[in-house]
């Protein structure tokens, strides 16, 4: 049986994908979650979350580098044995697929609440998914290479957003610093930890396709640190410019943030730039999640290719993304109260268990 994915990506592309993945959806949603818990200390909570995220990456790398040439789905069978391993693999696939549905729904919610309120959400999902289906059908190499093309555009837009907001900063909005205390900051950091970092476990599916495995760790860390930095800076700007209460009330505060840009009398209402950043980053997030679930399913059933599964899974994903939650309030409560714990199970407890069993197994051999 040959390898399902024949493409190879280089460490730089891996790093770019990590960066885009950690920005996708979090850049728009996380500032609100952070400030609603940690108030004006939201940015401190973001820093704490990024620091925690780095430890998670070390765990993922430790697990991934023990089995070079195998993906998460393949070595969970090697580690836990046939049936328990398959169970773990099914749980991981469920996580990736559910994540894809939630990410797709985030796109739909954003467009139908802010950009095109009269368009049915199904149309938005179908169109976005069409691009994803084509991308995943073309394979990992194409996704990785196109991400390198879009990177300068995304960096430029982020820099424009940040630079033009500097005149709007009001430093007193961030005071009193450390009012919420350690508890509030830890609680707040759960949202950053769960929205990009615990989801990075998806990258264990593409570890084996990086052509220089010894360069994975610095590349992975670099992408995630840069992504974390952008999240911290955007959260700081939300607090500085909008104030924490206004940020916490908005579902998409960084979009509102960009509406505040006003340079002289001529450069204003450029908030659609944020939407562009977001579409590009979320495209890669969704493409990687969907790709990982397709590849994982093909590996679980020991198939020769995952391509026949893409269209049927895309249809299921489209329906799932509509029925997955009834309204945005449900999602906000779910994202704050339930998702961090589910993500901790799938992104920390289960990989941690795999690593422990694997270490014990090799120790007793």
């Amino acid at each position: 049986m040959g390898e399902i994915e024949k493409g190879k990506i280089n460490p730089r592309q891996f790093s770019v994908l990590t960066l885009l993945f950690s920005l996708g959806s979090s850049i728009l949603i996380v500032p609100s979650a952070l400030t609603s818990i940690a108030k004006q200390d939201g940015w401190l909570a973001a820093i704490a979350g990024v620091a925690g995220g780095m430890l998670l990456l070390l765990l993922y790398h430790a697990l991934g580098s023990r089995y070079p040439g195998q993906s998460l789905i393949q070595y969970s069978e090697t580690i836990l044995g046939r049936w328990l391993g398959k169970l773990a693999a099914v749980l991981f696939l469920g996580y990736f697929f559910l994540l894809s549905a939630l990410v797709l729904r985030n796109v739909g919610d954003f467009i139908t609440t802010i950009v095109m309120p009269e368009t049915p959400i199904q149309v938005v999902h179908t169109l976005f998914l069409l691009a994803i289906v084509i991308g995943v059908g073309l394979g990992l190499e194409v996704i990785a290479r196109s991400s390198e093309i879009f990177l300068p555009c995304i960096v430029l837009l982020i820099v424009v957003l940040i630079v033009f907001l500097i005149p709007q900063i009001q430093f007193d909005r961030i005071e009193p610093v450390f009012e919420t205390g350690a508890k509030g900051i830890i609680h707040g950091s759960l949202s950053v930890l769960s929205i990009p970092y615990l989801e990075l476990v998806v990258f264990l599916m593409i570890f084996p396709y990086v052509n220089r495995p010894n360069k994975i760790r610095p590349a992975f860390m670099k992408g995630a640190v840069l992504g974390g930095l952008v999240i911290v800076v955007v959260t700081m700007f939300c607090v500085f410019v909008l104030g924490w209460d206004f940020t916490a009330r908005h579902t998409f505060p960084s979009y509102t943030l960009a509406k505040k840009i006003q340079v002289g009398e001529f450069l204003q209402r450029i908030e659609v730039l944020v939407a562009v950043i977001w579409f590009l980053t979320i495209f890669y997030k969704l493409a990687i999640c969907f790709y990982a679930s397709m590849l994982g399913m093909a590996q679980l059933f020991r198939m020769r290719t995952y391509r026949p599964l893409i269209v049927p899974s895309g249809i299921i994903l489209c329906v799932l993304s509509i029925v997955v939650y009834p309204n945005i309030v449900y999602f906000r409560v779910f994202a704050a109260e339930i998702w961090p714990f589910y993500a901790l199970t799938m992104g920390f407890a289960l990989p941690g268990l795999l690593l422990t069993v694997s270490v014990l197994k090799s120790a007793f051999k």
Binding site: R302, P308, L309, V319, V323, I338, F341
Partner: protein, 75 residues
């Protein structure tokens, strides 16, 4: 929306079925057909507003006790 799904599925079957059959990839063929059937049934159910099980409710049922304990400790 369901009719788009139906058209798409017919195209997918016309395209994939002969290829998979000729390549004798029966496992792939079975999984393809099962997933497609699930997809079509789900989209028809959604079109008719039938109740579809929601995984987020299951997760809420599983994690609610844990979440309550941890979050109240953090407040």
């Amino acid at each position: 929306m369901a009719w788009i799904v139906l058209v798409l599925s017919v195209i997918a079957v016309v395209y994939e079925y002969p290829r998979l059959r000729r390549a004798k990839q029966f496992k792939e063929l079975w999984l393809f057909m099962i997933l497609l059937a699930v997809g079509v049934l789900l989209s028809v159910a959604e079109e008719l507003h039938l109740p579809i099980p929601d995984p987020l409710n299951w997760l809420t049922a599983i994690y609610k006790p844990m979440s309550r304990i941890v979050l109240s400790a953090l407040n």
